[in-house]
Subunit: 110 residues, 2 copies
Amino acid sequence: MTRPVCTRFHAAIELIGARWTGAILRAVFTDAHRYHEIKAAVPGVSDTMLAQRLRAMEADGLLTRQVDTGTPVRVEYHLTEMGRDLAPVIDAVVAWSHRWIPIPAGGDPD
Amino acid sequence: MTRPVCTRFHAAIELIGARWTGAILRAVFTDAHRYHEIKAAVPGVSDTMLAQRLRAMEADGLLTRQVDTGTPVRVEYHLTEMGRDLAPVIDAVVAWSHRWIPIPAGGDPD
DNA sequence: CTGTATCCAGACTGATACTG
DNA sequence: CAGTATCAGTCTGGATACAG
């Protein structure tokens, strides 16, 4: 009989695959560390969602939030080791997407 | 300035990361091809969701649906080349999950 | 066996306005 | 700059019953 899917795999894919999380992850990987940078890098995300997702990802241990109190306030998000370790996953998805997802009209920044 | 996230990557991660899709993919990869096998391999999924996700994945070109009219009806789901090509992604997620997701109580079938 | 139809509570999302 | 509060609309997901 077919074995149930590994619960750890399940947990992981639901974690990484949660709406926006993948795109945010990729943004932080590619040097977007400030709130407005991440927002700019993830077209279509609203403040509500971005803030919520960042909090969730922080709670999940994927990234850290460093607040630099001052004027203006600066907040930086960085990957934890757990988050950085997702690099192979990101790379695999990028490779797959480049093979199977058609290039959108107007080209793609990559 | 930070570049926008690759739209193809975004599309891919939202495709693969959609609720249940990852687990279903993993199930089909590990030889669950019939509806009831997949359902058994993905604990917690309802008929509604499973049917909906299978249709969506078929529409997305990730898998094929072969109906064998008879009594009882048999339906088999198989990966397309596009779906099979996700193997490295699945493997990367499995590797990551085994490193970072704690083993649930009672052990894990893997 | 392999689903579909319907209902409905609750989760999710986005716009707007506002705060420190 | 980096969010939060609020609110309303949309979508999700499961239970149940039913169909081919």
